[in-house]
Point group: D3
Chain length 135, copies 6
């Protein structure tokens, strides 16, 4: 295993938990495994491993970008779990989705917040209450 792949797996497992990088590579078949491996090597080995941002910051930025693109339910679920694992709070995660509504529009933000809330509930976490300000 190259140093980059090893570093990628180490950072991937920081985010998703021990042993999860095997699962990722197994999830794809044949040559698609190369693309999954690039994801580990590049996204985690090259990018996540850089200094300058904490893992908590990176997970919230990933969620902001995913919500903005729209329609990426499996990745939203994965990074919600990842964000919790690296120490983000449910409040930070949900406020991240609310924050980007001004850029990505209401339909994408509303679809995303349901997916994220469902994933947090599945993890057994308490969902912070609505502030209800102005209501």
């Amino acid at each position: 295993m190259t140093e980059r792949l090893e570093r990628g797996r180490r950072w991937f497992e920081e985010v998703y938990g021990p042993g999860t990088s095997d699962g990722l590579l197994e999830m794809q078949q044949g040559v698609a495994k190369d693309l999954a491996r690039f994801g580990v090597e590049f996204n985690f080995g090259d990018i996540y491993s850089r200094p300058g941002l904490t893992l908590q910051q990176r997970e919230l930025l990933s969620l902001a970008s995913l919500v903005t693109i729209g329609g990426l339910e499996p990745q939203l679920r994965g990074h919600t779990r990842g964000a919790i694992r690296v120490g983000c709070t449910p409040t930070e995660i949900l406020e991240t989705v609310i924050h980007v509504v001004q850029y990505c529009g209401f339909p994408r933000a509303l679809n995303a917040i349901r997916v994220v809330t469902d994933q947090l509930v599945e993890l057994g976490l308490d969902i912070p209450p609505a502030t209800g300000r102005e209501a």
Copy 2:
């Protein structure tokens, strides 16, 4: 309840029918209710309530924008129902989807027209026949 929220609910119910705004706010959990409330306050209280465009015009514009973004099936279904409620015809709704194909491309338009047609059928409405021009 603030005046904006009240105004938002009133316009929301103009589009979706009496009592529906409670449902919307109930559909989300915890802090996600705040995002749903922003949708009522801002989209309906601030935007839909503005003078200068009729509700029929607004519903067709909403559909044009949603088809262009792509992948927003629940919103397409909702605004198809809304458009009918405020007095748009099935022809206007379906021609709106056909109109934007030149901007959003065929895959998004074809996926959307199936969703919209299904929703119109579910409402018990007659689907206008193909013009078949040139066929």
Copy 3:
């Protein structure tokens, strides 16, 4: 000239004014003229010419879709002129941009409304005043 192209030019000139379809086809060079011609034949000959929506409705729907895609300044300018030509009011045009902010987000809507306002000013039209509601 085929009937479709002729019909396309006729509808194109309904929107953009007499003689403008020659200009469009001249604007591109070589094989790119084929793509411009497809635009006239398909967008105007096949789509704009359909019954079921008025030209005013079509121009507002085009603007809604263009604002949503973002970054299409020449087309925004062209369809602002077209919308005025077919009888839309500056208010309807500007309210269309404001309407779609809920779907496309603030940056795209704010960039678009400046382009559209500038084009309306260039046409010598009065810009409707802000409602200032709530301010």
Copy 4:
């Protein structure tokens, strides 16, 4: 039937197989059939039928564009079958998805490669092995 529609059906069936163009037009109801017909006439009658690119080139370009847009699973499946029918290899198809990751990002490419791989397996084709370079 007009010459364009006939030509469109002929090219559509080159890609998707004998008899498939009837199915396409039947898949939609009412006026939505017009949009399906435009797809046959314009996409296949006007575009696919042009000289200058082979059908194999066109199918890979279609896949590149669809992966980039994201979220278009039925079209990805269809053009995977089409690409095989016109003589592209599973390797070319899968490498096309891998190639565009640099432009469309990892989530869209990873979601797409699973859909494409599944469709190739369904067709009974062998999936080329991972190169595993650097692993």
Copy 5:
């Protein structure tokens, strides 16, 4: 002035500096001022003012979303200045752009990092050196 607009202006000026909210509202003409005002009221009065995320977190999330959408140069410049004002470091800002390349692709990220770097240089700030790891 309503409480929401006042709160929006206060938060807008936290990000962009004293007196800047007047400029924003002056930048647009006529009814477009309403859209600018909605931006202040909703984006800053409703969203930025929420508890749960710091202003530094919000500015990095805004940049992540803007880079992902692409083509929003004026907003990228504005939020780069805003991020610095609220206490983000040049490293955090630039690493945010690098982080999202995995989601938005290389062309958008490379175009954005040039805009952001230029803005930081214009502000007289030192650009952190390349890590050069692996080079």
Copy 6:
């Protein structure tokens, strides 16, 4: 220099010409050089260097993806030059833009074909004539 960077530069220069990879890395300042380097290492060292597609195929796929995203003028110009360098014909390049109009819509395709045609003219190449079929 690592083997990946060296391989990336070699493939980058296959596409863009001898000595161009230095220019790319110089074009960005400070830490942005890391992102440019990732572009060389990953896009060219990992992706372009893969077997299974020729360089001509890769350049046309890159153009298809860039036209689909929209608004990426510098990259469109660069890959037009690259496509010519690796042996694609002006016809193949221009037909690629025309091919994807069915997916990305007319505004993006028309804006792109003008940029691509201008770049081909700048290179002193003959632009293939319009087929004018049906006109």
